[in-house]
Subunit: 351 residues, 2 copies
Amino acid sequence: MARGTGTSSAKMKDVAERAGVSIKTVSRVLNNEPHVQEKLRQKVREAAEALDYVPSQSARSLRGNRSYDINLVCHVAGSNYVNSIQFGAVFACQELGYQLSISLLENLGGKSIAEIRSAFEGLMRRRKPDGVVLLAPYANDEKIGFVLNEMGIQVVRVGPVDGTQNQGLLVEIDDYQASIDVVRHLTNLGHKRIGFVRGSQDQRSAHVRYSGFCVAMEAAGLVVDQELVRPGAFDFAAGYDAGVHFLGLKQPPTAVFASNDDMAAGVVAACTERGVKVPDDLSIVGFDDAEIATRMRPFLTTIRQPLHDLGARAIHELIGSFNSSTSKNSAHRVVLDHELIIRDTTGSPPK
Amino acid sequence: MARGTGTSSAKMKDVAERAGVSIKTVSRVLNNEPHVQEKLRQKVREAAEALDYVPSQSARSLRGNRSYDINLVCHVAGSNYVNSIQFGAVFACQELGYQLSISLLENLGGKSIAEIRSAFEGLMRRRKPDGVVLLAPYANDEKIGFVLNEMGIQVVRVGPVDGTQNQGLLVEIDDYQASIDVVRHLTNLGHKRIGFVRGSQDQRSAHVRYSGFCVAMEAAGLVVDQELVRPGAFDFAAGYDAGVHFLGLKQPPTAVFASNDDMAAGVVAACTERGVKVPDDLSIVGFDDAEIATRMRPFLTTIRQPLHDLGARAIHELIGSFNSSTSKNSAHRVVLDHELIIRDTTGSPPK
DNA sequence: ACAATTTTTGACAAGGTTGTCAATTCTTGA
DNA sequence: TCAAGAATTGACAACCTTGTCAAAAATTGT
């Protein structure tokens, strides 16, 4: 009953009364709209502060047709990659007053536009997010971007994306350069027969990493032996299979570059089982610097992606685009730094 | 322009007109309130169906003072445990028309009630969730439960919890029995000297698993040698350290039960480095059946927790409690089944 | 100093739902 | 058949914010 003890929080009306202005003026000040005297601005801000005013999201959404929600869309698997990006995104949202919710979509690959549309509509019509963060493998699916655009939802994509499609917002690292860095590290150590384990064909990063690999090999005056290029799906098992294949070869490689850490760990596991010493007999490099890189023995040499930052930056770009006056189509591409982490799975090739 | 092409979706008013009833009646039908003739119910449902009506979350929230949001609160680390539960929860929310958002809280251990309160208020006042899912290590913090209760937010806790505090909603597995199962598996194989790696002291599960271990040892007529009980923090490094300790002993154990998979993997790593054969020289069991259990070699014998189901069930309990008429204090405890997964890290003790 | 213009301010409606309460219809008993 | 009571239905307000538009105040030009 006593003042300040009321359970319900202050409303705009209360702030207006305390500041001696109209409700609308309070609204203007709090939303940083123009056309208010500096003097009143101060008063309103003070009043809001004093009353510990917090705007009602539901009222804002209802009237303003904005949800202050951002949706992170990914497929079901809870990989370290998705997880780390997600955490970065959550932090950024907390900071900026948005809410991040997670949406899981069954694999949409190869679905028609109509099917994709209905999947998203089913997911989002209860509460339409202001923006969507699209992770691999959806980031590169132009149909999905199209559907979301059509629904009036701003999109930011994380990860490498085909150059062909209209760009929009994009946050990534330079996978191409990172692959070159890996090969250079290996060739500097003296390796000449270098194997490669590819990632899922439906993910752009898999292709980019492979082409970086090829270019760097060529630049080093080496040939890419197709016998030493194995398919994979970014999972441990594929790495293991590739490892078994390599070790069974008459002339095995002296180094293997796997397109991600899970697969690199698989290659190492195959070596461990067969008594092949890493890195003495075979050097191995991964990509991502996932948890497993320091959970395995020996520790994995790999490329560190700033996953956390990628997620955070994606959110910042998205929210920035809401407030900027530039049109929806404004393309913006952000490239974050990667880093080659040299640990214990790489060394000189055997004599 | 043509009928059905309108961009904005149907509102309650439209449904009411089509069904020839008042808006309020539509509301009643759609919310399953009593006092409506069956005949009208049908009509309304048909109309809603035909118009593809979806209620506006913001309007509902504004008027009804419910957000249809559920918050999953955990600390920063993106462990497999948190991740898997989260995925289960997201699925359940999608199914039930709620939105799951993630909140990350810096470590709140040892903070005062005032500090905890302000952390949550800062986090949640922009949009107060209808319920909160509390994961370890927060699940067992009674101060947090208290603060949330005071804020009028329903809570469901996942994981083992002290019996002392007022219960509320709780979803867990029987960690105690699971530990007994592990020990029984080991003693059945003939092990007598069994080591144990404990989990973080601030997590209830660590204590429960340890006491299950002790009881089962006693039941098998074995003594718990304190030399063979090592501390840990549920992380790989602690398991590794414990492994190094065990292997350096004059009389090492023939089996080790680690309180989670990460630590078990650490013990295995220590063995691998030292040329100790698993399971020939040392049997090792983990807990969780995390990803790493099948990413390591040999594959890890462990307890499978139905993490996905725990998350989903937590959501179901929470939402169920909103709709049920029973009071907030209604305690409900759900215990899901665990399973001992016997893989390749356990075998008979060496002669 | 006054009209014309620009800037600042506020009254009011609207957004889509649910709670309240009064009006209507139906049921029951005499 | 009619009164009393119960069940059903609907009109209207309320939730809290933002957009519209007109009114008021300040500024400019002559």
